[in-house]
Symmetry: none
Subunit: 400 residues, 2 copies
């Protein structure tokens, strides 16, 4: 990675990184979702592109969205791990600053014996927990010199962000993980996290005071306390001006972690394409994220995933190609085979088009088999950015 | 590797790792041994499996059996090197304990001038050296507080194991490598090996005393002194219960180094299959080793290797598949092309079957060419275990 960074130079070429979430699949009757889908536009593009397979992390490793995207952005996902609290905050669209300490939180029911009776406070409805979060924001919005941001999630879940000086990470959860146990104090397991632990515990105590008359949600449990990882900015690393177009907050959040400009967009793929079109001249690289394919995979809905891929091919891809990017990459962050109803470890099809690729020149449809025989071979997701920059003629020669 | 280990969870799936020693080959008239062999069962399995090529160590590196197997087991073979003495001891079936110091030994002839006249004592017959080893075991079986185990090998070769407290490694050989030179003292080249050197030299002196009237074998030379490497156990690393079925002692020894259960078996492939069958329900992973393919390669006997592969396909594979493993891997530890009469650096065909693979769906026979186009791509042997665990649904997701 340091090599790519050291060779990157500014340029005028424009790069599109289109990510179909969970793109890779597994066959049902010999064909994967992508292979079964009728995708004439992708197939035509594939025939003049270089194809390959991306291993998101390592062979056999199934990634979450966080590490899978960091890898696509060219960051080592094992070296730069994103804590659960941070991911949760990104997922609900919170803007996280450097030094912020984030936690996943639950409303819980504490019994009179001081033990946790229900770690999920009877799964109280979102409207109820939203009100409680507003109350906590008012009454527990500051601990010492630390600003506390409380935001509701779904049902009993919410997110807490502690913003202030000297909040190191390395904290054990207060959640005892099982009902019937006494809630723990947040404790520091790394040097430099003492203030964090003290503030978190003071926050819990303040919440207990505020919530003491609540029948169910009379306690809060904190988990996955973590700081925003310190990542070199994408712009600085690659000498380009990047932007993110994503309907889902989590992916905007991940892009924000690497310093991309976040473009305001709507909720549909068409909204996203319109946003790309409006901004295409203002940025060197646009990361466009399409979520629904992953959801269909997670739902185990093979046919829905096929349909979504066909819709991408028919409605979305031609519009993107009409914007005359110099480099076009279509890939996924990981595989989400409908047969597994989950993210998986299988390598992800990738297509790279520019005027400077060795075309695939194969009549096979764009899919896992074709990509497995592609001229890019099987490479790691974290190696993709180097290829895209090269195709945009944005990397100097190494050595003389 | 630490990543796989951190994500491994216990499960109920069962994994077969079938290793045909020296499986990979080179073509004679355009086809390798494996490509020429008629292997309808392997071919059928390959069509519903993922194929690839395994690089045992690094491109161009020809491995011995020790590092090649450690890599298949998922251990970094460069980081964890197995001393020659240890390998020799494993090869004759000696059980080595943690802290044991092992040496390869030769009977030699020392001239009256104190110089080595023959480093191999005229290659004395095995029966003769066996008797001498028994004598040394009696007369030199203890040095200071150290137990000494002496076991014959072939002809002039034998193995010595020193068992006791504080026997560090880092010792230079006593073998001067050429006839006509004075035998060396064993000397310590690392701190912590002083006692080892003292004991080894005392052993040599004791042997000289015992053997002084022998016409040929009147001296012993020690080489490759090394301790058993400290390897994390396979069971702990991967959260499963592994067993080894191998007719040859060396491979049982290598499996024992990583803490596999060693199953008693006979000398033939059929014996091995019977042992697998009897134990299939008691273990999560069975490593089954088939030696003869490597021997045929080393003998330069292309046709014999072809025949052995056909026999594996006809007699052995169907029985193994009948045992309903959830994950089946067929591969080799390294290539042993008959045309080279030796181990080689060429990547090794690998086939991974489970319900969760992307099938190869190609009509080509299982072989080097087909595997070179397989969806697994070319990966390192040490990455295989992660894939097998993934296919057995035994790895948690990395990150969220």
């Amino acid at each position: 990675m340091a090599l790519v960074e050291s060779l990157a130079v500014a340029g005028t070429s424009r790069i599109l990184l289109a990510v179909l979430d969970g793109l890779g699949g597994l066959p049902r009757e010999n064909r994967t979702e992508l292979e079964l889908a009728a995708t004439p536009n992708l197939d035509r593009l594939a025939a003049k592109s270089s194809l390959g397979l991306l291993v998101p992390i390592e062979p056999g490793i199934t990634p979450g969205s966080g590490p899978a995207h960091l890898a696509l952005f060219g960051y080592d996902p094992v070296e730069h791990q994103i804590g659960r609290g941070v991911l949760e905050a990104l997922g609900i669209g919170l803007e996280i600053k450097h030094g912020d300490l984030c936690a996943r939180a639950n409303f819980a029911t504490l019994g009179e014996d001081g033990k946790v009776k229900d770690r999920r406070a009877g799964r109280i409805p979102t409207e109820e927990s939203t009100k409680l979060c507003e109350l906590l924001q008012q009454k527990a919005g500051r601990i010492e010199d630390v600003e506390v941001i409380v935001r509701p999630g779904k049902e009993h879940r919410f997110v807490v962000v502690f913003r202030g000086e000297g909040l190191g990470e390395g904290l054990a959860d207060s959640d005892p993980q099982h009902d019937g146990l006494v809630p723990l104090e947040v404790s520091s397991v790394q040097p430099g996290a003492d203030k964090s632990a003290r503030v978190a515990n003071a926050f819990i105590a303040r919440c207990a005071e505020v919530l003491k008359k609540e029948p169910r949600a009379n306690w809060v449990l904190l988990r996955g306390l973590a700081c925003r990882p310190a990542l070199q900015s994408f712009a600085e690393r690659y000498k380009l001006k990047p932007a993110c177009v994503a309907a889902y907050p989590m992916y905007r959040g991940l892009a924000r972690l690497v310093g991309m400009d976040i473009l305001k967009t709507g909720e549909t793929w068409s909204d996203e394409v319109a946003t790309v079109r409006q901004n295409v001249q203002k940025h060197d690289l646009i990361f466009a994220h399409f979520k629904e394919t992953d959801k269909a995979g997670e739902d185990g809905d093979f046919d829905a995933k096929v349909e979504l891929l066909e819709r991408f091919d028919e409605d979305i891809l031609p519009k993107l190609l009409g914007l005359k990017f110099d480099v076009v990459c279509v890939t996924g962050d990981h595989s989400t085979p409908a047969t597994l109803k989950a993210h998986s470890w299988h390598p992800v099809p990738v297509l790279v088009w520019s005027r400077h690729v060795r075309p695939h020149a194969c009549s096979m449809a764009f899919g896992e088999q074709a990509c497995g025989r592609g001229s890019l071979g099987t490479l790691y997701s974290r190696q993709l950015m180097g290829l895209l920059l090269a195709n945009g003629l944005r990397l100097k020669k190494f050595g003389a």
